[in-house]
Amino acid sequence: MTDWIVLGLLGVLSVASALGLLLSRNAIYAALFLVLNFVIGAVIYLVLNAPFLAVVQISVYAGAIMVLFIFVIMLLGAERLTPAENPPGLNYQRPLALILGVLALGLAAYVLLTRQASAAPVAQSVDASPTAVGLQLFRNYVFPFEVVALLLLAAMVGAVVLTRKTE
């Protein structure tokens, strides 16, 4: 029962912060709502037996990615830039997007309500300590791991090249 209270509360908070992101006019507020959402996500990870991911979520998403976002927003002064009206030919965009969104939610609800969860007993929880995750990474997923390392390097070089001032 406590689990349900905790999860429900987290769920409500999570959706609320996501809506905050969607609806805020100010980019800084949006970013802060997103940070909040990520932190709540981290707590959900903890509840779902993923402590390693919870901490990584905090330090990568909340601590690095979003700091970068806020940094760029502040640097560009982008929070105050409200663009002009919809360009011609995009007027149908907003209603159609909303309809599609509602449709997608309806689909998700439909699936959850009509499909019974499989009767198979929930497996006992797995060891998700950093050691266990690390062993997975370096035994079963070494190749993707190395590829991702290369990707990060490429992204770093790309970012440096893109933002360098051209003489």
Binding site: P87, G89, L90, Q93, A97, L100, A104, L107, V111
Partner: protein, 624 residues
């Protein structure tokens, strides 16, 4: 111990690496001596291995460095083998190679790509050692291809001249034709025996014996096609005379002493297979003899000092191949050995002459014998050593060539009269063109300013000449008639009985050689004759080596060009291009219709994607 076996390969590779990385920044002398010492070290290592081998009474030394290809039934390793046969080849390659490296320091002096030359040369030595030390067909083939590459690179070394580049390309292409045969032969060996290891294959041959006769004929035929490419036999010999476009030391090392003998070595190595196929063997003997005659006669009318030697090389390779075809592998290898000495000597001597002609002021082609003459007085040492080499080639006792050529002729005399006759005539031709060359180059009066002002080459070039001359003088001793040392040494590999000396035959051929030399002296004292000869119909016929190149042009090349034209005009442009263009046009037409969808608004694309996702989800969730 393990490393010692491959050290002859590693030393030149190390030298190559040093020169390739730092050669540009080092002084010429340093580059040259690094390369030379690499090969000298390889020679020393070969000697050590040779001594170890002789102490182990012919028990081969083996080393498997690493597995290479492991795919299904195919297991090939980087395996190396030192047995009496490869040991002899290693000594020749590294010994002659070392001398030619040293000689090159003088010959290549001042060349802008000095370091690159030595990189190639070192790589060649390493590759040649891989070839002779391989313990399976595939590793042998690696060496085989690598030496081909080096040969190509070095023939076209002065690539600024289109002719040289073309010569390199020709050598490359012609060799590839032979290689196709070799590869097919290898595949057939694998299909038949399930392995490419020499030892296993030969052991299986001994066990299965006659049942393999048919397939062995095919295998050996294919392998021999490979050999005709590398060892310049009819019909693929045309590249070798053109290969003289490379620097002369290269001609001496690669296109006379070592690489071109690879075919002979390979046949000796696989002699077990060849002995199963008497038909192929007869064919090989005949091809060798015909090659010897054609090339020998062509050498009679050449005017380029190197071309004479080039055709002579083809001719002598014919001798070796014929010997191998006759089953006289020891004779073939013996001739290979002595030929390596005296032909390298002749080439280096010719190089010395060219070097002198080039250095002196004048405006004639430094390789044209018609512009030489009288060089004996100006270059006495080169003259002396050249004459020693020439007489060895002509087959005069007691020089090295006499003994080895005699063994080949002896084998032919016993087994195959036709081959014997052809080779006999060639022997006479040989003495004649040698005499002609010596007379035209060294005797008489200088016929150009270059010749008149030529000077003896520096000591670094004459010293290798001296060493090679000594080897030519004494080289015959290692296999005196009637079962000499070489016979004994190769016995564990080749199991071949020695033939007794035939004094009559030896005497007859000595007299023929002397007669031909005398004839050359009489004919060519007056250089005018050499000049006129070339003009005649026979002269042109022989100068162009029986018009074989022209025949190729008229048949193979013309057919190939025609085929290419058909391919390019009809198939490529008419069919493929048209299809491709049609695809392009239709894509364009479709794009014209579809471009309306490209609104340029990213969010619009996003919306479409989202729509697509929802449609898919609906399909998977609701419909299915």
């Amino acid at each position: 111990m393990t490393l010692l076996i491959v050290s002859p390969i590693l030393f030149p590779l190390l030298g190559m690496l040093i020169n390739a990385l730092f050669g540009q920044r080092m002084r010429e002398r340093v580059v040259g001596w690094v390369a030379s010492f690499a090969v000298i070290a390889a020679f020393a290592a070969s000697v050590v291995l040779f001594v170890q081998l002789s102490q182990s009474h012919g028990e081969p030394l083996r080393l498997t460095l690493a597995p290479w290809i492991t795919a299904g039934a195919l297991n090939v390793a980087w395996g190396f083998l030192v047995d009496p046969l490869s040991a002899v080849m290693m000594l020749i390659v590294t010994g002659v190679g070392a001398l030619i490296h040293i000689y090159s320091i003088g010959y290549m002096h001042g060349d802008p790509r000095f370091a690159r030359y030595f990189v190639y040369l070192n790589l060649f030595v390493a590759a040649m050692l891989v070839l002779v030390m391989a313990d399976n067909f595939l590793v042998l083939f690696v060496g085989w291809e690598l030496v081909g590459l080096c040969s190509y690179l070095l023939i076209g070394f002065w690539f600024q001249d289109v002719k040289n580049a073309a010569a390199g390309r020709k050598a490359f292409v012609v060799n590839r034709i032979g290689d196709v045969g070799f590869v097919l032969g290898m595949l057939l060996i694998f299909a038949t025996f399930g392995t490419l290891d020499f030892e296993t294959v030969f052991a299986q041959v001994k066990v299965r014996g006659e049942s393999l006769a048919a397939v062995a004929s095919l295998i050996t035929l294919l392998l021999f096609i490979g050999a005709t490419g590398k060892s310049a036999q009819i019909p693929l010999f045309v590249w070798l005379p053109d290969a003289m476009a490379g620097p002369t030391p290269v001609s001496a090392l690669i296109h006379a002493a070592t690489m071109v003998t690879a075919g002979v070595y390979m046949m000796s190595r696989a002699h077990v297979l060849f002995e199963l196929a008497p038909t192929t063997q007869a064919l090989i003997a005949l091809v060798g003899a015909i090659t010897a005659l054609v090339a020998g006669s062509s050498a009679l009318r050449q005017v380029d000092i190197k071309k004479v030697l080039a055709y002579s090389t083809v001719s002598q390779l014919g001798f070796m191949v014929a010997a191998a075809g006759l089953g006289a592998y020891v004779a073939a290898l013996f001739h290979l050995l002595t030929h390596a000495f005296f032909k390298a000597l002749l080439f280096l001597g010719a190089g010395s002459v060219i070097h002198a002609m080039h250095a002196a002021h004048g405006d004639v082609d430094p390789q044209d014998m018609r512009a030489m003459g009288g060089l004996a007085k100006r270059m006495p040492f080169t003259f002396l050593t050249f004459v020693i080499g020439g007489l060895a080639l002509a087959g005069l006792p007691p020089l090295a060539g006499f003994f080895s050529k005699d063994e080949v002729l002896l084998a032919a005399f016993a087994d195959n009269p036709l081959v014997f006759v052809l080779l006999g005539i060639t022997a006479a031709f040989t003495a004649l063109y040698v005499g002609r060359q010596i007379v035209l180059v060294f005797l008489g009066e200088p016929r150009s300013a270059n010749a008149a002002h030529a000077h003896e080459s520096p000591a670094i070039m004459t010293m290798p000449l001296a060493v090679l001359a000594l080897l030519t003088l004494a080289g015959g001793a290692i296999n005196l008639p009637g079962g000499g040392w070489l016979h004994h040494w190769l016995e564990p590999v080749l199991h071949e009985a020695a033939k007794p000396l035939n004094v009559g035959l030896a005497l007859v051929f000595t007299l023929i050689a002397l007669g031909a030399l005398a004839l050359a002296w009489v004919w060519y004292r007056d250089a005018q004759r050499a000049r006129l000869e070339v003009e005649s119909a026979l002269g042109r016929f022989l100068l162009s080596a029986w018009h074989i190149d022209a025949v190729y042009h008229a048949t193979v090349l013309r057919a190939f060009y025609t085929l290419s034209t058909i391919c390019s005009q009809l198939i490529d442009i008419g069919l493929i291009d048209a299809a491709v263009n049609a695809v392009g046009r239709s894509a364009r037409a479709a794009a014209d219709q579809l471009r309306a969808a490209q609104s340029g608004f990213v969010r619009n694309y996003g919306l479409l994607m989202f729509l697509g996702v929802i449609v898919l989800v609906v399909y998977f969730v609701v419909v299915r």
